[in-house]
């Protein structure tokens, strides 16, 4: 896995080079962030010719390692103005890795209004004109491309939102069921792809050779250890497959940290109607799939296929964050409506978290009433069609808050906040505030407390210990994101020591390395420093590592607390 393809959209030339120098030994987020840091001028316009879109599988992707099918997509973000790595599952990462591809770097900008596609196979990478695909939603687009190329081909694509270069535009990746339902949602990566005039990348790994393993015995032993941990742990073997990620709704609501009606309450009275348990019952009754493997090599199977009352497919991978953002956060307790919103966002190519945050802000402004599901759907259509109101919505929560004069706007570095209120879960507030990515739950989501020796009990309602916790989690997550592993491996990793040993063993077996746990932490630190450095050069300072002021002023029921971690402590997160 040492091929880098450069796709120059100005000259329409494709070139190939070998991984070398600063890029050696990196994958996933480590590689996207290093390329962006080295090659993208930090002050460039995010949708101008100097930005680059970097697409990389992780270090373990392409092997038989369980849950190794993650893809990292990086660039300077049109939403935050800083560095971005948006992480997505599906089928494409494994196919790229099997073709020996470490990275695809898309640079330059074509003649105005021209649209292209990129076909990647064992014969190399080739651009093709795609003006005929202009304006297509992801679902119709993928159907057409799979009919033309290969039914099993992995497709990485943008919908109309990306073509319109909206700041919340996502990049879709086909799931194992062939639908474009997995998304690199965060940070407007779809707008960058749209600015490059690239509508889709079709990845066909037919005829690819197996990924080479340096030490097969070590790899096999480590891989088995890893699989055993995933199969043993109740969350990865039972909770996630049965209820999906939405299993979290009950927990976070009960803990009083489930942001409701644009972050004005910590519990939603309609949670039972949209919880993981209810979703499981609805899908089962209608004959949909409560359990589904959305990503190649996944053995957790947290995905699902949501169907309507007649059993017809609506969407797949209906997720906790999506259900919260477009549900509780908008006062909506109608699961069918939320499933339709997810489908529309996947088709137009919108980030579902940013969309829900934005609709919440628009509802706060009175554009629609809280709880108005039809109104929310109408706003998404406006955005997808690019009407003047839709252009406001499509550019995110921060933009919409400004347009309508709203002060309660839940963003950090202009990125909408995910489904945990920082007043009830103070530690995640530290991550939202300080992450190089903007408000991002995944940046400090993977826990590895015993690996990182954090340990101990940190009260979510108190400021004590939150900075150290967030720091360690951000470091570990940066490393996991580089391995190409699903973040959910963190659940067994905390309880079962063999799980993390398995990860290190697989890396060593694959590459013939001698990594220890300390080396993995060092990799995480290196990545964060590279990202932080880019952001500084792009004009960010510690003053950007802050939550919006209402989190310090408005008390959140039921615990009636504000965000309590002092600014001086937030500034210590990157002291390592």
């Amino acid at each position: 896995m040492d091929r880098i393809f450069r796709i120059n959209m100005s000259s329409l030339k494709v070139s190939e080079e070998k991984v070398s120098g600063d890029y050696s030994g990196l994958g996933g987020r480590g590689l996207t962030s290093m390329v962006v840091s080295k090659e993208v001028p930090p002050l460039c316009h995010p949708i101008g010719q100097h930005n680059k879109l970097v697409i990389t599988p992780g270090l373990l992707t392409g092997t038989t390692a369980a849950n190794s099918g993650r893809l990292s997509i990086g660039a300077k973000s049109p939403l935050t103005g800083g560095i971005k790595e948006s992480n997505v599952g599906g089928t494409a990462a494994t196919k790229l890795a099997r073709l020996g591809i470490a990275a695809i770097i898309i640079e330059g900008k074509p003649e105005k209004g021209k649209l292209y596609g990129l076909a990647v196979s064992k014969d190399g990478a080739k651009l093709f004109p795609a003006d005929d695909l202009k304006g297509l939603g992801n679902y119709e687009l993928v159907e057409k491309l799979q009919a033309k190329y290969d039914k099993k081909a992995g497709v990485i694509s943008i919908g109309p939102a990306g073509e319109m270069k909206m700041a919340m535009a996502s990049i879709a990746v086909t799931s194992t069921n062939g639908y474009p339902s997995r998304h690199a949602g965060r940070g407007g990566m779809g707008a960058v792809m749209g600015s490059k005039g690239l509508k889709a990348i079709v990845v066909d790994d037919t005829g690819a050779e197996k990924v080479a393993i340096k030490n097969p015995d070590l790899f096999k032993e480590a891989s088995q250890k890893f699989v055993k941990a995933l199969r043993e742990h109740p969350v990865t073997s039972e909770g996630l497959p049965k209820y999906g990620t939405n299993v979290l709704a009950g927990i976070i609501n009960e803990a009083g940290g489930y942001p409701t009606r644009n972050f004005s309450l910590g519990r939603f009275e309609g949670t039972d109607k949209i919880s993981g348990e209810t979703m499981h019952d609805v899908i089962s009754k209608r004959g949909g799939k409560t359990t589904h493997s959305g990503c190649t090599t996944c053995i957790i199977q947290c995905s699902n296929e949501y169907v309507d009352e007649k059993g017809k497919y609506i969407t797949s991978g209906l997720e906790y964050e999506t259900i919260w953002a477009n549900g509780a956060n908008c006062g909506i307790d109608d699961l069918d409506a939320i499933a339709n919103i997810d489908r529309l966002c996947d088709d137009y190519g919108f980030d579902t978290i940013e969309m829900g945050c934005t609709i919440g802000v628009a509802m706060e402004a009175g554009v629609k009433e809280f709880g108005d599901a039809k109104g929310a759907i109408a706003l998404i259509h406006e955005a997808g069609k690019g009407t003047p109101l839709g252009r406001i919505i499509g550019n995110g929560a921060g933009f919409t808050g400004k347009a309508f004069g709203v002060t309660r706007v839940p963003v950090v570095k202009n990125q909408g906040m995910p489904a945990y209120d920082p007043r009830a879960v103070q530690g995640i507030g530290v991550t939202y505030a300080t992450s190089t990515m903007g408000a991002d739950h995944t940046a400090g989501y993977a826990t590895a407390t015993n690996i990182m020796k954090v340990g101990g009990f940190v009260d979510p309602l108190k400021p004590d210990g939150q900075v150290a916790l967030s720091q360690n989690l951000q470091i570990t997550t940066a490393a996991v994101d580089s391995a190409g592993l699903c973040l959910f491996i963190a659940f067994p990793a905390l309880d079962i020591p063999e799980c993390f040993e398995g990860v290190i063993g697989m890396l060593n077996g694959r590459y013939g390395w001698n990594l220890t746990a300390n080396d993995v932490a060092a990799l995480g630190k290196k990545i964060l420093k590279v990202e932080r450095d880019f952001n500084e050069r792009a004009g960010f300072s510690n003053l950007d590592d802050r939550l919006p002021e209402f989190f310090r002023e408005e008390k959140l029921p039921p615990h009636n607390l504000t965000f309590l971690v002092p600014d001086v402590d937030l500034d210590k997160v990157f002291e390592f």
């Binding site: 909770g239 049965k242 009960e254 101990g456 309602l461 039921p558």
Partner: protein
């Protein structure tokens, strides 16, 4: 005294109402502990991995007060993740 109980996921079959939401009121003795409530409901203790009382993480020996809301979570829901870690007292060695 009276408390409110909320049962999640695979603990739902132990509920004392027909609401199917797992939410019901329960009469208990004064100063009852969480462990006593779990026993009273007939739930095997190993089926409870995380306990929230009024939205805060507690352990089995916590003493309850009138009006408390007790939420019980089974192992498959007891996320050891960044947010949930702060609620699971068994990590507090």
């Amino acid at each position: 005294m009276q408390i409110t109980v909320k049962l999640h996921a695979s603990l739902r079959p132990y509920e004392r109402s027909n609401s199917r939401s797992g939410l019901f009121p329960l009469e208990t003795s004064e100063k009852a502990t969480v462990r006593e409530v779990i026993r009273e409901l007939g739930i095997p203790p190993e089926k409870v991995r995380m306990i929230l009382v009024n939205g805060r993480g507690v352990d089995f020996e916590s003493i309850l007060s009138n009006g408390d809301r007790v939420a019980l979570f089974p192992p498959e829901m007891a996320f050891n993740m960044y947010v949930a870690i702060s609620f699971r007292r068994d990590l507090n060695h």
